[in-house]
């Protein structure tokens, strides 16, 4: 079986000259759940956008993002976007339709599914995110937690094999956060989660990648990396409370 995601020597520079990624390489196996941590501006979000081919400037260069054996290029970007579902940082950016139902149905409709199938997929996604019964609400009447869950439902409705989540728990109250973590746990897809929420990483991810200034600083088992106080402090992070009693090594 091909690995879910393979990245080889990925570099990226924004048009204004800011260097965001400097030679990143890693592989994620099918079904794995990986935490992506690092200080602000370390390149986490940029990296996630690359998984989806969303930075058009970067596409024509040599193929360095491979999703399930297919190298991402301009021609197959649309197809690969179906495999990689991306949850954006700000739910308001992602929730662009006037009602919950229309928003969750947006992806499947774009992929050309017929009405019945769309309905089935949307219902399933709403069920997973416990949003059944909210179909006709408008986004501006939703709480932050609900908004986030609708975004997730919209991504799930595209039936991706990989979920790439950008700060999924930011701006959520503890209950919203708990609900979201439970939902994520129940989803079998391969997951890559960029976040500052290290407690969640400990709970969800067996493996963690630490990113700083566009390079990978460390890549290994979550408990080992996040338990390493020195490493955490050196990169603007903090050893999570749950791991306080666990010693590295």
């Amino acid at each position: 079986m091909n690995p879910a995601i393979e990245i080889r020597g990925l570099q990226f520079r924004y048009p204004d000259g800011k260097e965001a990624l400097r030679g990143i390489s890693f592989t994620i196996a099918d079904g794995e759940c990986v935490g992506l941590v690092g200080p602000n501006g370390s390149g986490k979000s940029t990296l996630l956008l690359h998984l989806n081919g969303l930075l058009p400037e970067s596409l024509p260069k040599d193929p360095n993002v491979v999703v399930y054996g297919r190298a991402l290029n301009k021609e197959n970007a649309a197809e690969i976007r179906r495999d990689v579902g991306l949850l954006f940082q700000d739910p308001d950016d992602q929730l662009f339709c006037p009602t919950v139902y229309e928003d969750v149905a947006f992806g499947p409709e774009q992929f050309g599914l017929d009405k019945e199938k769309v309905r089935a997929v949307v219902t399933k996604a709403l069920e997973t995110t416990s949003l059944l019964g909210h179909e006709h609400r408008s986004p501006h009447h939703l709480s932050s937690g609900e908004k986030r869950r609708v975004c997730l439902a919209g991504v799930l409705a595209c039936e991706p094999r990989v979920l790439a989540l950008d700060e999924p728990t930011s701006n959520l109250d503890p209950r919203g956060k708990r609900n979201l973590i439970q939902t994520l746990k129940s989803i079998p897809a391969t997951k890559i989660i960029a976040t500052h929420d290290l407690e969640m990483v400990v709970e969800l991810c067996s493996r963690t990648i630490v990113l700083d200034q566009g390079t990978i600083i460390a890549d290994g088992p979550t408990h080992q990396l996040l338990g390493d106080e020195k490493l955490m402090l050196a990169h603007g992070l903090e050893k999570p409370h749950i791991l306080r009693h666990v010693h590295p090594h």
């Binding site: 950016d93 009602t99 992806g107 501006h140």
Partner: protein, 203 residues
């Protein structure tokens, strides 16, 4: 923050709210067309329209205070233009005619907008053959209206917390740069929305 004030009552549950939006949209159009085109001498018609509108409003369970409040907010604009009608032969008659007509039409639209959610009005318009691109843009606009209002309030608060002068010139400057900032943020958000749309298979 929520901005329910814009469409607070459009999701109540009443016999009128349960009617299909397309029917409501079409009957609104019919009522307004008839009201506008019929000569004012047919007073019976306008009395019937007013009566029907009042009965419908009672059925919607929307507070009277709200409905008439909306009407009172909009009436001055109509009045302002209607005054110009006075300066002609037969002016008072024309003045009364257009004021009655516009008040009835205003009330009809207020009823429509508070009994039919905009998302559904858009779906009806789509069915009537309004170009898809316009529907997409209207939907995006309606959706982000609320986000932008929030953003404006935040920007405005952040500014006033650091503004210590009350001069109107200063105020105009601040407001204008606030509008400028709002545009810059809108373009940035549009980029992110485009990314989110493409991520879910948009052409």
């Amino acid at each position: 923050m929520r901005h329910d004030f814009l469409d607070r009552y459009s999701r109540l549950d009443s016999p009128i709210h349960r009617l299909p939006t397309t029917a409501k949209l079409l009957s609104t159009l019919c009522v307004i067309s008839a009201t506008v085109t019929l000569h004012f001498t047919h007073a019976w018609f306008f009395i019937i329209v007013a009566g029907v509108l009042l009965i419908l409003s009672a059925l919607t369970t929307i507070p009277w205070r709200f409905l008439f409040g909306r009407l009172m907010v909009l009436e001055p604009f109509a009045l302002g233009i209607a005054v110009m009608a006075l300066f002609q032969e037969n002016g008072v008659f024309v003045f009364l005619s257009i004021l009655t007509k516009s008040t009835l039409c205003l009330f009809t639209v207020i009823l429509l907008s508070n009994t039919a959610p905009f998302a559904e009005i858009l779906l009806s318009l789509k069915r009537f053959g309004v170009p898809k691109l316009l529907i997409t843009i209207l939907a995006l606009m309606y959706r982000y209206l609320f986000v932008l209002i929030d953003e404006t309030e935040r920007l405005n608060r952040a500014r006033s917390s650091r503004t210590f002068s009350n001069s109107p010139i200063r105020k105009w400057h601040t407001m204008a740069s606030l509008i400028g900032q709002l545009f810059v943020r809108s373009t940035e958000r549009a980029e992110r929305i485009y990314a989110a749309m493409s991520a879910r298979g948009w052409k």
